[in-house]
Symmetry: C2
Subunit: 466 residues, 2 copies
């Protein structure tokens, strides 16, 4: 049964003060997960979220874990059978620590509105954007649907964790134990951002990661560079030569077969990215650089969103204290990681890397590869029905279609949903680059909060029509 | 006036027991300079040496310094005027610590004779070789000359320090303060070794050193490798490429002009080295290597004694703790040093190195060179009269001419004499590679002690005839 979205949007507009009051109540709970001193506050935040879910007719439960509790909620049985789509909404009720406290203009857990020349009215508090503000856009949309029409438009399950800011140690076992209960048609993950303040976005690609540490051994012991220097192999020299060979002068990675199997973005995607007017020079300028170091035939945005990397994250060998020591060390090592794109298999990449290193090893040196691991990239089909439905809803709310963004980094929960539950994620949020998440004076635009809730209300409406 | 050397040699042979008793008395003093607990023992050792010098008719003085005392002695005025040559003999009365004590077969300061299947009778004690045994070969030769002929054959001054094993902090100021008093025609430095047990040697070449630390800066701060990886310059990658370019595949150093000005050993020197039958494979095998990494057209011995190096003594950048961290660091650094050979100027080498690095720097990176310094190589003319006289004397004692050796490392006292006093050094000693200096069960062959003293007696005789 198709219900009227306009009434839902009117309800959201009419009840904005109440929605803000609820957000302020939530923001006032100092649910800092990494500090045991705030353990009771985290439990209080979990219960607060659970109560919100119960209030809109859901069967909500606080589950104890070895860490912070999980909050899980489901629509009632009757609606679950009825719905064309079952979605799992994910969020986290915990927040980052607040130090350095003296850089805050007001107490981080006494939320307030403030006027900002660029962003208009902003909500300032720890968690205003990450993730309390973001998750409340969805909860308010669901509440408006419930209050207007007596029930939610599709079957929605909820999962809220309280350890996202400290590595989610309880998440994997919880997913494994509640697989059947949590598996849905798609996950909604809200802790991503817009392209800019006027342009909504769906993040459809995340790079994966493969990592290894090379430990090279040359001489059987550290040597005096006077007594042995010249004929003796220096593992730092050998390591430098291997690492220097990872890229050619055009920024292409030289590991044989490294680029095999990559699934390139389609033409429509490329055309949208090219139309974004992304300023690579400004992006690099903000970190003191000017010349892109990736493949010279790729734009900066492609280098970030659609191309893999080979990066040296750390190197060590010999003496690095003050002054000099004329040593030829026995060993040298480097931590290497690869950002991967869709199509690349982490194990296969690591195998090719090992072959690359081994082929360049002088006969006298040996190599060990330690601490290897990885996760594949994520690349969702933007033409799949839920993505298209969300895109239509966003276009109606914002007056322009969403940017189908990539992200150079990974989002562990998305990988977990894909790996543990075989479930794709619609990554969609209303954060902005200047929200100062994890930093003093974190903010969320009041417009983000209001239009975010309206956007979700429209998305749920479109889902109901699938 | 030429005096009879045979009588001196006979006296040395006849009084071997007394000489050994004196050495044992000296070895029993635990003059460990690096440990303040042995300060009184160091002063006792200095006084003991001073008494020995007085006993052979010299004007000997113990000079207080800010550290351990210096012992200085001179021939009497009459003899100084008379002598064809004035030499300064240098030695040190301090010794290395003895730990690990449990690896010693007997107490390190209770010297004893022991039978060794390879070396025959050996003197075992801390300092037996380095440097008490070595310096006593000279003192016994001087004593035998004094006892036999009533005076020394040439004018000899003595300088004994007590801080050689802890970096000689008092030496430079002492040399500066006593320049006129200590300057002689040539210094005799006894803490070097033979080529092998049957072959005496004079060390005529030492490599010099130039050192620098490269600090490369790329991005203005550490970056997340997901958010920036691809376009962002990684200073470890840049540093690796620069360091990898220091050598070509034939081991030649690629810094423009690096090999300019080198003074190659002459043909006679090269012929002697080639005749030594040095086993480069065995040398490398002892440190777990097999293939020489220096210039492919040079022998291992040449690579060690006559060719310069470019060595990376340490490298660091990014994360080197346990596990992974997906960081692109802002900085990376490497400590680089060059062993130099005669003809190369340290400042000039460092200037060429800076130019080499700067020319390879991407426009976005900057480099700082910190902690630079160096000392030139030492290469003495083996045809100079004192060297030839010493060579003749050694040939008479050992039945074969001495090997004119190089050393890949430096000997600070030789550099100090050359730099502070403009004085060349005759580096001549009777230590063997298996003497275990600085290690448990240090030994000096009884034959080294006896033939060492006879060698010095003959050398002094040759000096008197110059």
């Amino acid at each position: 049964m198709k219900r009227n979205i306009d009434a839902v949007l009117q309800a959201l507009d009419a009840n904005g003060e109440d929605a803000l009051a609820r957000l302020f109540e939530f923001l006032a709970i100092p649910s800092i997960s990494t500090d045991p001193a705030y353990d009771a506050d985290c439990r209080r935040a979990a219960q607060w979220v659970c109560d919100q879910l119960s209030a809109i007719g859901l069967q909500a439960t606080v589950h104890a874990t070895e860490g912070k509790p999980m909050v899980v909620a489901h629509a009632k049985e009757a609606q679950r059978k009825d719905s064309p789509l079952h979605v799992l909404f994910y969020g986290h009720y915990d927040v980052q620590p607040v130090d350095p406290l003296d850089l805050w203009h007001a107490s981080p857990f006494e939320p307030q509105l403030s006027e900002d020349p660029v962003n208009g009215t902003v909500i300032v508090a720890r968690g205003a954007s990450d993730d309390k503000g973001q998750l409340m856009t969805f909860l308010e949309a669901a509440r408006a649907w419930h209050d207007t029409h007596g029930q939610l438009p599709v079957s929605i399950s909820f999962l809220f964790e309280g350890e996202e800011e400290c590595g989610s140690p309880s998440l994997a076992p919880f997913l494994a134990d509640h697989m059947d209960e949590l598996k849905a048609d798609i996950a909604l993950v809200c802790d991503t951002g817009q392209w800019d303040a006027d342009s909504p976005a769906i993040t459809t690609r995340l790079r994966g990661l493969a990592f290894s540490e090379i430990v090279l051994t040359g001489p059987s012991r550290d040597l005096h560079s006077g007594m042995y220097g010249g004929p003796a192999a220096n593992p730092i020299r050998v390591l430098s030569a291997i690492l220097a060979g990872l890229h050619d002068d055009e920024g292409r990675i030289q590991i044989p077969g490294f680029y095999d199997d990559i699934i390139e973005p389609d033409d429509a995607q490329m055309a949208q990215w090219q139309g974004l007017g992304f300023d690579g020079g400004q992006f690099l300028g903000e970190i003191g650089l000017s010349r892109p170091m990736g493949e010279t035939d790729r734009s900066v945005l492609e280098q970030l969103w659609a191309r893999p990397t080979a990066e040296i994250n750390g190197i060590s060998g010999g003496y690095s204290g003050p002054g000099t020591k004329t040593v030829i060390p026995s060993q040298a090592s480097a931590k290497v990681s690869f950002r991967l794109v869709p199509g690349q298999d982490p194990d296969s990449v690591l195998k090719k890397f090992r072959a690359f290193v081994t082929a360049r090893l002088p006969e006298d040196c040996k190599v060990d590869f330690v601490g290897e691991g990885g996760t594949p990239a994520v690349g969702f089909d933007v033409n799949a029905r839920p993505f298209q439905a969300a895109a239509e809803a966003l276009a109606e709310e914002w007056g322009k279609p969403p940017v189908m963004m990539g992200s150079g980094a990974s989002i562990p929960i998305v990988e977990s949903f894909q790996g543990a539950l075989g479930m794709e994620s619609l990554m969609l949020g209303f954060a902005l680059d200047d929200d100062r998440i994890h930093s003093p004076n974190e903010k969320y635009n009041l417009a983000s909060f209001k239009k975010g809730a309206r956007s979700w209300a429209r998305i749920l409406d479109k889902f109901a029509a699938l």
